[in-house]
Each structure stands twice: as C-alpha cells, then as structure tokens.
Symmetry: D2
Subunit: 363 residues, 4 copies
C-alpha cells in the first residue's frame, strides 16, 4: 500500500532537475493571504492552515492552476518557538493541504522550514536544530516529496538546517534571503553556496527580500562560487514580486513602504516573464516567487517558459499570451494592445505624481 500522502508515480525533484526540466515554484502565501484577510502582518505566522483551511487550499489550487510544480507546505515560522503548542497541528494540516492539491496535478510537496528568531540572540545550535528536527518529523510522517530550508540571513544557521534535513534522506533545497553583498555576517554569496552544498543541499538559491533583478544577480554569484570550488548543485530563485532597486543590504524590510505601502512596486506579468527568461538564461531551473507573487505571476513564469517545457499551465485557458485576448475588444485602440511589443515596451505610470521613484532605506 502506498504511504499516506504518497506520490508514487511522480518523478522526484532531482529526477526532474537532473533531466533538465524547468521546475516552476509557487508564490508567496504570507503577503497574498494577508491581503485576503487570513494572515497578520508583523506576526507573519501560518495559523490560517487550521483556522481557514479552505482559504489556504484555494491559494494552493490557484498556484497549481498557474503552473506551479511545487506546493510548499505553508509552514513558514511554524516552529515551536513561534507558535507554541499549535505548531504541530499547523505543520500536519499544512502537509495535508499541500498534498491534497499537489495530487490534483503533477506537483510535488515540499516541506519548508526557515530561520529561527533565536539565532540572532543566541547561536544555540542544539536548540535550533531541535526546532528544525521537530518540523522535519512531521514532514517525514506526512511523507513530503522533498525539503526546502528557506529565508536564512546567516549561512551558519542555514547549514544547520541543511544538516538536519539531510538526515531524512530526502532531497534538500536551501535558499538564503541575501543580496549580492552576502549574508548578515558578511559571508560572500559564493562562500555561502559552497557551505550549503558541502552540508548536503542539492539545490541552492535565494528567496525573498530582494526584487527579481537583484535576486538573479545574487544567484549568479552563488553559481560562480560553486564553479570556482568545483562543486555542483541545481540553482533556484524565488524573488520578491516587487521592484526593489533601492533597497539596501537588508532588503525590502528596510524600505519605508514595508509592509503596507508596497503596491506601486508590484511587478507586472511582463516583468515576471522577463525574470523567468533571465533566470533560465543564467542556468536556473527551479524558478518561483516569494512575497508579492500572486497566481498570475506564477502563470507568467509558466507562459514564458512554455516553449522550453512544451506546455502551458491550466490557467492559461484564461490568458492570451502577450495580451492576445484583447484582439476582440470593441475599442480599436485597445485591440492594438494585443501584441508582445506593446506590453514588452510599456513603461507603466503610477498615477501618483507626488510620489518619488525610489526610497531611502531606513537602515
């Protein structure tokens, strides 16, 4: 009998990446569900999986429809330290929701852990590893397909996470929330890459904190670090869905707009198609999003890379490539927008003449 939540017939994450496939990740649950009314900014914990499972399920479904091949369990920060006694129920329910939706398509379930709030106060390796282990135990019991350690500011803690996850025998991906300047202790991206791969990560990359362009710049540095060290790993990127050329070393949390005034920075679908293409061109094959990525942004990745993948996502039934659906509009000047050149070259206005283009980070 198949194990509970199993996915026997599906190819695993490494099989896919080793075979040269593009894997499309999902988008950001926290900010998306905050706007839908289920997550509290500031806390940023995923109690919605038990409080409003239908809302979380629906978002999984939308990302699946948009083309995501990976359903990340909505377990961000869901460790004992942040969620107290609720943590276990949340992790278990999150696995079930992700599995239920993943099995409606060809998606894999990835159990996700992230940095702790303990590390900054006290680098207590044993305690931190125990928190990771507890979440991992649930993921193993629920038989997720692979594991993601994400959103680490310090490579030391990320390495601890990889070491714990690695013990399970499941493939491990590790992404840091760093920019080209490296981790918060000043470890360069290339060195972070080497440490993560040596610790056992098969897939490395960055997620969150920085916009598409900066994130890709950092991934390139990771890649170069591995190359110099003669190491190999698959590359992964899950950037913010916001334009952030002006955020400093700390990323978007330092910008004055964080987290309730980010709207003018939201990427268009065309911005994300460019991001997907650029990622692909620099060798990244696991391409998804983080905060700010809504389902239509994930669809944009899947549409941009449809020629390479050979198929469009389900949600493209409701989206003409490059705006082609506008060709039946009644107004001729709107019909004229049903073409790639139009959207590719559009410089969208903000409608906000009193607002600047860029902000100065607070820290």
């Amino acid at each position: 009998m198949a194990p509970a939540g199993g996915s026997r017939a599906k190819k695993g994450i490494l099989e896919r990446l080793d075979g040269g496939e593009v894997v499309v990740g999902d988008g950001g649950f926290l900010l998306c569900l905050e706007k839908r009314g289920y997550v509290k900014a500031g806390l940023w914990t995923p109690e919605a999986v038990v409080e409003h499972p239908e809302a979380v399920r629906q978002l999984h479904v939308e990302f699946l429809r948009a083309g995501a091949n990976v359903m990340q369990t909505f377990t961000f920060s869901a460790n004992e330290d942040n969620m107290e006694s609720k943590w276990e129920a949340v992790n278990a329910a999150a696995c079930d929701l992700a599995r239920e939706v993943a099995d409606r398509g060809e998606a894999l379930v990835a159990g996700g852990i992230c940095q702790t709030s303990i590390y900054k106060r006290h680098k207590d390796e044993a305690r931190i590893k125990r928190l990771f282990q507890l979440q991992l135990d649930v993921f193993i019991r629920k038989n997720v397909d692979f594991l993601i350690a994400e959103y680490f500011e310090y490579v030391e803690e990320a390495v601890w996470a990889v070491e714990v996850l690695k013990e399970s025998g499941k493939p491990v991906a590790a992404t840091m929330c760093i920019g080209p300047e490296g981790d918060m202790h000043g470890v360069a991206p290339g060195d972070c890459a080497v440490k993560l791969v040596k610790a056992g990560a098969s897939i490395i990359g960055v997620n969150c904190r920085f916009g598409p362009e900066t994130s890709l710049k950092t991934v390139a540095l990771l890649r170069d670090g591995l190359q110099k060290a003669g190491l190999k790993a698959h590359l992964m990127v899950q950037s913010l869905g916001f334009h952030m050329p002006d955020c400093g070393k700390g990323g978007f949390v330092d910008l004055p707009e964080y987290p309730f005034g980010l709207e003018p920075r939201v990427a268009t679908r065309w911005d994300i198609q460019k991001y997907a293409r650029d990622a692909y061109n620099q060798g990244v094959r696991f391409i998804g999003g983080c905060c700010g990525f809504e389902p239509y942004h994930i669809r944009a990745i899947a549409e941009e890379l449809a020629p390479e993948r050979g198929f469009l996502p389900p949600a493209s039934e409701k989206h003409g490539s490059w705006g082609s659906g506008l060709d039946m509009h009644t107004k001729p000047w709107i019909r004229a927008r049903a073409r790639r050149e139009y959207w590719e070259n559009l410089l969208p206005a903000t409608g906000r003449p009193f607002c600047p283009s860029l902000s100065k980070p607070d820290a």
Copy 2:
C-alpha cells in the same frame, strides 16, 4: 415557509440606508479573479461561477470577512447576448453562491446587471429591455434582496435598466461608469441623477472607470443635481482601486496600462481609508469598490468607518489598525511604523525609475 434563499431576519438595503447605516459594498470580481486565473481579460465574462464555483465562493467569503454587507451576484455581462445559452445557468449559480455566503453573515444579495454591447450599435429599447428582463427573472426566482444596475456609459440605457428592474418591486440601485464630464452623450452628472431617480432608482452613484478622487467628485455632482431638482436618493460609490488622475473622459480603459500594466497604480489600504472617509463626509452611505479592489481594500473601508458603525469586520482579527501590528517587530525602525501618522503621510515609491508618474490616454 421562507422563500428559497430568503433572508427574512435581515434588514433590507433601504431600511439600513434610511436608518443612517453605512453599507459596505464588495470589491471587483473580474480583475481579482483574472489575477487568480479564472477570468479572461478582454472577454470579461463570469463563466467562473459554473466552471470554478469554489474560487468565486472563496472571493465572496473574503469580501464578507472584510466587512462587505452586500454580495453582488457575479453576473457582470452575463446576459444572453454575451454568453449565449450559458447565460441562465451562470445567473442562477451566481445567485446561489452569493446567497450561500451572504447567509454566513449579515450581508444582502444584490442581483447585478450592466450595460449591453448592443446599445452602441443600435438603441433597440425593446431588445435591450428584454435582456435585462431575462436576468431579472432569475434574480426574482432566486429571491435576491435588491438590484443593482451598474456600469452604464449612457444614462438612457441606465434608465431603461431601472425601468425594468423597478417593475420587480425590489429596491433598485443604479450606478454609472461616468466621470465629472458626464455620460458619453454629454449628459451632465446632475441630469443623469435626476433621470435615474425619476425612473425609480432609490440609490444612485458611480462605479468603475475612475479612481477614488474622481469618482467622489462625480458623486458630488450627482448629489447637487438631485438637490437642485428637489429630489432625494441614497448615494453610492464603487470606484476603481487604482490611482487614475490622468485618465481622460473615457476612464481607465483608455490609459495605455489597461488592463495588464496597472500594478503601479494600485491603491494602498491607507488610500482607501481616505476614500471611505471622504465618501462618508460628503454624504455617501453605500461605499464599496470595483476593479482593483481586493479584500484588504474593503477591510480598509470597514476599518475607517468602524467608529461610525460600531464594529470591526471579521478580517480585522488579522489587521492592526493603522499598522499597529508592527509594534512587535524585532527591528526597531519597523516598530516605529506602527502608527497612523507614518502610514498617512507615506509617499510610496515605485521602484521604477524609468517610468513616468502619469500617462497620456490613448483616446
């Protein structure tokens, strides 16, 4: 026995408005569900109600949670002319979905019709009224609580709609998608108001096409028109959730960003709080949104007017008023953002230094 889908115990829309209550409308289904992957831009029809009812239901739930008192049936453009044989099933299912969710709270169901594509080609009153009548028949069968005729560019067609709806005996609201320059034949807003009220509308206002500030300006002109004519009606506004100071007479469809590059224009929750306050101050009591309004925008209306209404919406359990939830953030400069003055005065940047503030409309 109560009629199917009835809502006996609830106060009706006019009871509420006559009693001085603020009624919070819902947001824009078409653009919201387009981003979620269920509506096709260009077509803009609501087949999702039968194809993916769970996605539509979820959005109703989110608006209800956000504080909406009205669940509009997702029947925009769902007449026989646009949707052929599917039209009837769509209207019926839309009523059921709206009712199901409305009855989880104190919300009312509003059956919605909009302008036809026929009118511009041929002002065939009989044929157009028949289309309205067919949708109305479903609404009556499903026993909606009241009716909304919305998104009319021409007051003549809006009057026809009101005349048809009025026959049902249910309260009728009528909103036009016009700006301060008036309808597309040049009928001034004040004159539109008079015609609509004389035709039988109890609630009049504007929806869609223009941003918050312009929409409120137009509603003020409607109000002044009524006053001059010695007529009375309740006022309603459901503006776009986008900043649109630069759109011309035709509204946002003429702007080059429509419909796939509007992101930088999306209103923040604070912009919408201001809109709600301004609407209230100028006497509008039915306040909702249209395209671009996501659940958190509706929550912003409900939060801004909580002092007047005496309660917060359910989704405020996940939202500290004026960013107060940030006061527990670990970074001191982010904690410093947990206050009204901060968000009220923030001029958010776009992160897009090559983009202008304003666009020139195409037409």
Copy 3:
C-alpha cells in the same frame, strides 16, 4: 532734432501689431541676474542697473541677439516706495541701457511699472497713482517707445496703472500675473480684460507666476472676455520659463521650490517652441517670457516663428534648428539626434529618483 534716445525710423509697437507682425518680448531679468550674482532674491529690486550696468547691458544684448523686439527697462519694483531715494537714478539708467541696446537693432524700448506693495495694505488710489506717475515722468523724459504695466494681482490696481500711463499718449500694454481663476479678489480673467481695455490698454495679457500652458489658458479667457464684450485689443503673453502644472491659484511663489529649488522645472528650448506655436495659434502676437526665460528660450520663440516672421534672430548663427548642429558629431548615436522628431518627443529625465513629479503648494 530727434529727442534723446529717440527711435524715429522704427515702427511703433501698435504699427507692428496692427500690421499683423509677431513681436518677440524679452525674458526675465530678475531670476537671470540673480543666478549671475547681481540681484538679491527676496528683495527682487533692480539696483544692478546702477551698480553693475555692464551686467544688465550684456543681458539686454543677449535678448536682442536672441530675437527680442522689445527691451523692457529693468525697472521692476523700482518705485520710490521700494527703493527710496535711489529710485530715480535707477529708472533713468535703466532707460538709457535699454535704449542703447535697442538701437543696435530694431527693438523698441518699453518702460515698465508693476504692482505696489502698498495696495494690499491700503487701497490708497492717490498715493499709488503718484508712484506710477513718478516712474512715468522718467520714462517720458527718456522717451521710451511704449509702456508696460505688468505683474498685477488685482485688476483694480492694474486699471489705476493704465489710467496713469494712458495720460502720456504712448501705447500702453497691461499684463496681470493671474491664472484661469482670475485676480486675487476673484475677478474673472474675462472681466479683467474688459476693465483693462476700457481703461485704455491697447495690448493686454498675462506675465509671470504661471507656466506656459496655464498662461495661455488664461490669455484665452481674456480674449473670450473681450469678444463677449465686443472689445478689441492685442494679446500678449510672458509666461514663466518653468513647468508649473501643480501651482495653485497663487502661482509659483506658493510652491515649496520657490525660489531656490526650481531647476528641475526649467523649460527646454523645445518646450518653448511649443509655447510660441500655441500662443501664435490662439492669436497672441506679443510673445515673450518672464522669470526663468533665459536668452536661449527667447531664441526658441524667434526660431519657431521664423517662418511667419521671415527671418531668424542673430543668435541662430549659433544654433541649428531642431538640433541640426549635431549632425557633425563624432558619435553616431548623437548624430542621430539631429532632427525634430527626436527633440519634439523626448521626455527628459530628471536624474533625481528621490524627487516627485509634482509638489503641493504651501498656500
């Protein structure tokens, strides 16, 4: 014998305008000489004519070279009330400087007076008229060619000025520093126009305070006012050389950038060519500039209207029409800029990503 400073052979201002000629005015002395180090902001008085006559003469020469047909005496605010005992020497020297340069070409000398600072405190008609009369006495002694009463916020005071100047028998032009909302007492532009013409002005218009587009809008209202009243006068415009769409009723003095942060608003030569063309098209024939107009802006007027006038100004020997001088540049992409379409369509960037497009006026 010809009177001192006479210009016997030249056609007078009315002869020119009655004959359908375009008359090109000069630019703004105060701001231009402030940047050159000879005028003190805040004071804004023209003591430079006696302190540094060579600097004032040079600016007259540059405007003449740029195509100006009128040399305004640099006598702004140079009445007894503002300049005490110096006033007379300043007025006399200013006339001499203007005459000396005017006679190097076909330019006329215009004696200029402006509003007093007394009017706002006390509408003492006799005292104010006496101040005007004193300046006029010098202008008559120096035999200027015509008179300009400019920069009036209140039409009542402007009418007093015209009444005084009119007595001299010389042609009188009168320009107010108002926008489309009218004078500071709320007198509409059309009514101002009627009052000024009835008082005896042969040329009316606006100067200063507002940018090119707004100034032309106001002049159109003046024109319509005259038309309705069945009156006739020549039209004149001397707008700011700054973009000011965001200044309120009070004009540029209320904007936070006034007077030391206006740089990003400075008009390009192409903006001014458009202004000249638009002015011409709406029937204005006396076209010059005020604060912010440097010699190259005046040249832009003369170049734009060269087809109508039949000649280019002297300074065009150093300027290829529409950038044609770039066709010999060594870099091909700069040579590619040697054409009208390039400059006409350029949307120049500010290089200031932290600055907004528009400001909110202080008052």
Copy 4:
C-alpha cells in the same frame, strides 16, 4: 619689468594648495555661453572670444564675483586641428580676457588644453604633442599662471599633454573625463592617477562627463591609487552641474537628453553646497565645475567653504546664506523658507508628470 599679463603679487597655485588653501575653480563656458547665444552645440569651439569678447569677459567677471580663484582661458578645443587658422588669435585673445578679469581680483589664469579628435583615429604622438605645444607657446607668451590639461578620455593622451606642458616649468594640473570604471581603454582610475603624476602633474582630478557624486567617487579612486603607489598630488574636481546617476561609462553624452534636454537635471545651489562639502571632506582642495555650472553654482562652493576660507565671495552681497534673504518676504510661508533645514531637505519636483526619473544611455 614684469612680463605682460603678469601677476607678481599673487600667490601661485601650488603655494596656495601647499598652504592648505581651498582653490575655487570656475564653471562651464561652453554650455553657459551656448544658452546665452555665443557657442554652437555640436561644434563646441570658443570662437566667441574673438567674435563677442564682451560676452566672454562678462562670464569671467561673473565667475570671479562668484568666488572663483582661477580664470581658465576659454580655449577648449582651440587647437589648429579644430579651428584652423583662427586658433592662434583665439588662444591669444582668450588669455588676454582671462588675465584682464583675473587681475580685478586675486584669481590666477590657467591656460587650458584638452584631448584632440585625432587620437581616436590615429595615436600619432608627435602630431598630437605638436598641437599641444602650439597652444602652450601662446600661453607662455601670455604668461599664464599655470596650466590645465583637461577632458581626456584616454590616459595615454593625457600623459602626452602633461609631458608637453611640464616642459614649460609652470605647474600642471591634469583632469580626465572618466568615471569610476576608468579610461576608455579600461585603465583604472588609480592607475591613471599614477601615470599622470609620474608624467609631472602636480594636481590631478576629473572634470566634466559625470555628475557631482560620481565625480567624487572617481576622485576617491584616484587618491587611493596614489596612496598605494606612495605618490602625492593635489586633488581637483570639476564635475558637471547636472544630476547624472543614470549615465553609463561614457557619461552624459550618451544620455538621450544630451545636449538640449538636460534642464530637469540642473543642480540646485544646495546640491552644489553638498558637493563642495563632500569634496572638501575627502581631501579635494581645488573645487570647481564644468558644463552646467553657472555663476551661482560657483558661489555655492564659495559659500559652503566660507568657514574654512574665512571670507565670502563678492556675489554673496546678493545672496543670503541658506535662503536667509527670504526672511523679509511679505508672505509668511515664504519667510518660513529662510533657513538651512528647509533647503537642505527639499526634494524639488519637476512639474513634468510624463517624464521618468532616469534615462537609459544610448551607448
């Protein structure tokens, strides 16, 4: 007997710099006189010194009044190759004009040469050096106080210039028009610095092509290069008076606004005070400007460094420090601008809502 044009009593440039004095340079003649009608864009040659000497003299006077300690001869590109037979008269007249004005104050005359257009086509050292020698012969005959080799894209050619000038025995300053990426052959700024000093330059730095911030960044690299090599020289900066964060390696000539749409980028006086302070803080003691620097920008340098220098420039009689002259304005909200914090923190708007913040360079 003193040689013609001598300045016996004045301290020389090295005496001043060795003594720790701040030397204020002058501004940009080409763009300034282009706007006044005396220089042709594209050609950019200084024939105005013979055609309109009074205009050139006046600009020298204004820079002197603004506080400049150096009058550069207006001999940019005035070599035999560019100006044919006119070259000698132009160089001689330029020296006379500079001397005449310099001797009205404590300023020194600097003979200036710049890169040739020959170098890019053919690195003919002998021919190029001969062109430099010819200009130098005039400078020696006219007894200028020191020499400046400026606006070199290639350090090799700059070194040739220094070698020629050095032979005269006069102090030599050398500035390149490069950014932080180095010269057009890819020689890093630090290496350029070493080559120039080894060739005999006593003062090195950058001029033109880049804005204040970038220019200072490059000068810091020059300084670091010298330090590493154990060499010493005085540092000099004469940046553009435009904001240019978006210009690429080639500097402002590659931006689409060059040269006729740069207005929105013009620095305010406050921007230049910051530039002067920053330059001073990083050890630069010869501080002036290039294209875009008008007299009031030079005054801003002199005012900012007045505490260090012990005196204000003559033109400050017409300028209250930090806007203090506004304290007598009649409008209270303008009086409120008479203070440093106001102008230091102002983010000036452009009044151009259709224009972006930044441009993409053409090359």
